[in-house]
Symmetry: C2
Subunit: 436 residues, 2 copies
């Protein structure tokens, strides 16, 4: 049987990774898929550019229409990034009856709902395993492997750059800027790292995971997002003393009042497996009603790990070429007419425990003032540690771990604490998740 022909939009890092995998593992892939899979056409920006893959048998073009409307091409691979042009070209490909495989999390997070609708109308598939957690087959695990379960919550380290920075801060006592510079030198962070360190990238991925887990439409705009820029090495050290590690998590949780969708740093007990996921690696814990907790760990970025997920999607699409469209695995795990409209919970109503670092003048009665404010807001305290006054310092840090409280009460308490004349600087607040 003839090989399935794939047209590619963008032959950069991930595109080259995909091309190299398809070439190197051509035999095993054909033995699995039942047919060969090869890249026939690729749209690139610069025809003369040196490539990280062999393009001998690939027709290169600078015109994306040569890919999306090419009658030879059965599957279009969107690896160009960005949302506007990518969206337009994906729609063109669907309208030409092509299946689409993409690694573009922003595209799916922003435009997934309309893209899946169009794909359904056209009887084709849009696959996006590579959009979340690189090569870890987490979309497949949620959509198919755990399909028997009602998912209670999931929590993931889904941004490798951020995890690398936090690992350096926790393990080597580095400060944020130093760790970020190292990440950039190693090629883990972009020259403009905003999307990674502000949590936007993780929020795109969380929106996708939540849809697949809970059967709700994609709603990136409702994800509460905090980055890691406020974490100091002092907090990393105190967390460690208390038996915790700081990780940047994407959390989606079903509660009686609605869904929690939130991305922020959190203290995690160091004995949890996910607390020991270090460097650029990603991991997702899923807590499901029948299976209980399960965890999926692996490389969240890089040419070949991401390529691994892209090629797995290609194989899935090839295997399903003869399936009636309505019997294929649905894009968002649930049948398109069976999505729910569970509301997303406002962040103010979310319950979590907290780590607080409060700098106060070293004077009797200060702790009494602080604890009184907690009592007023019904915040119960799990532990208080008052540090020694350092030589030359005028204030001492108090570290407090609280029990669960809703976000609004905590905000009010923090505002009142910061108004105390004995509190000398802004209070650092990091959420604490036991993940149990």
């Amino acid at each position: 049987m003839e090989a399935v022909k794939v047209g590619v939009l963008g032959l950069g890092t991930v595109g080259s990774g995909v091309a190299n995998i398809l070439q190197r593992n051509a035999d095993e892939i054909a033995r699995r898929a039942g047919r060969g899979i090869r890249i026939s056409t690729a749209c690139v920006q610069d025809l003369k550019k040196q490539r990280a893959c062999d393009v001998t048998d690939v027709t290169l073009t600078t015109d994306p229409n040569q890919v999306v409307s090419n009658t030879d091409v059965e599957i279009v691979l969107e690896l160009m990034g960005g949302t506007d042009e990518a969206r337009e070209l994906v729609f063109k490909a669907l309208d030409h009856g092509k299946h689409v495989v993409t690694a573009n999390k922003a595209l799916i997070a922003f435009h997934g709902n309309e893209i899946f609708l169009r794909a359904q109308e056209k009887g084709v598939t849009v696959a996006f395993e590579a959009a979340v957690a690189g090569g870890i087959p987490i979309i497949k695990a949620l959509r198919e492997g755990l399909a028997a379960n009602s998912i209670r919550w999931l929590a993931g380290i889904i941004n490798g750059t951020g995890n690398f920075i936090l690992t350096e801060m926790c393990d080597k006592g580095r400060d944020f800027n130093e760790a970020l510079k190292e990440a950039q030198q190693l090629g883990y962070a972009e020259a403009d790292p905003t999307f990674d360190i502000q949590g936007t990238d993780a929020a795109h991925k969380l929106a996708i995971l939540a849809s697949v887990a809970f059967g709700v439409p994609l709603q990136f705009e409702k994800v509460y997002t905090e980055g890691i820029t406020e974490i100091s090495r002092m907090d990393a050290a105190y967390a460690s003393e208390l038996g915790y590690r700081i990780k940047h998590l994407g959390i989606a949780k079903r509660t009686p009042n609605g869904l929690e969708l939130r991305v922020h740093p959190a203290l995690i007990p160091h004995r949890r497996l996910i607390a020991n996921v270090d460097g650029v690696m990603n991991a997702v814990i899923v807590n499901a009603d029948a299976l209980g907790p399960s965890l999926y760990y692996g490389a969240g970025a890089g040419a070949e790990p991401t390529g691994s997920a892209v090629v797995a999607d290609l194989i899935d699409v090839v295997r399903a070429l003869t399936t009636d469209p309505e019997n294929r695995v649905p894009h968002l795990a649930f049948q398109p007419d069976a999505l729910s409209d569970i509301p997303v919970l406002p962040m103010d109503d979310v319950l979590t425990a907290y780590y607080l670092r409060i700098h106060v003048v070293d004077r009797p009665g200060v702790l009494a003032d602080v604890t009184r404010i907690f009592a007023v807001h019904a915040i119960s305290i799990e532990a208080i540690i008052q540090k020694e006054l350092q030589a030359g310092a005028t204030s001492v840090p108090i570290v407090i771990l609280t029990h669960q409280v809703n976000e609004q009460n905590m905000k009010r308490a923090i505002a009142e604490l910061e108004d105390l004349s004995t509190v000398t600087s802004r209070i650092t607040r990091i959420r604490l998740e036991t993940l149990s």
Copy 2:
């Protein structure tokens, strides 16, 4: 659309788990699968027995033919265990054109090759996710999620009973018999625990994992198998001192000379995630050429975790009901006519590092005799620790970690060491895997 009707052979622990999941999550499952799924008929041994699930709408029978040849039933669920009768009934079901879902690892390990051949002839599917690592979707991950990769090796904690016992020994300093008794009291171990503690159960599962990973036929009879009965709490304590934990692993590895298929206890560096998989939990690391290392963790047994995998298989089968048989995901990941006959490496040729505990009389020159024998067999030593002579003891333990050496050389060295008059008892030998 009418619900798909499932006939069940065996309504014990797992069967009840499946029934409860199908009932409790009926709505979510139908939203995912596009059709409802319900148990219509079940074959049980005793019609009067109290069940752990609601059987109001289920026709109970003691005649398995009422299930396997029932024209209403589209999918047969084999949950009876054992290999002879199960094999016969699965063949009958296939011959009647039914799809089969099974949780029976022994059945697949022994009879999988002929079962899949018959299924292929009949154009139906046999699904067996629940046969390995309970609810962890590891078969799906290997067969579909990692389909782009050439798998280098995999290593798994795939027997929860054994892992519970070793965890108790390592963490609480218990001895083997005490830990086994506790496992039996908690219901984790059978009254006759032979299959778990001798490694047979893990060997069944490893044979299945290896086939799916490497595209080779099932060959349980070639799996080298050692259990955990020889591990003492002394070894658990020494391993811990040296920075390792002892785990019972199933390992399948591609080498230039053939496949390694082996089940045995091993020391693992304690910083590895899998070294921290405790109690009855299971985990599998897969090292693949494009993705690199990835890990899958979750409950390896129990009514609902196993039921989770069974129901996921049911949903997969339902989703694929209209697929042309040749386009379905192949049973062993690779197309049936594309399996390889890579040879399995004899255990004597396998390279691993070792932990050895040697009891010797406390006399000068003994260490020189020991190290001379290692040198003769080209075994290089990574570390030697000689323990203090305990009051009242006549011999001292020497603990040795070696670099990699082939099994045959190590066996010869051990035989010569045990012949030394200064070596006072049998040498304890545990393999050491860095899993890097």
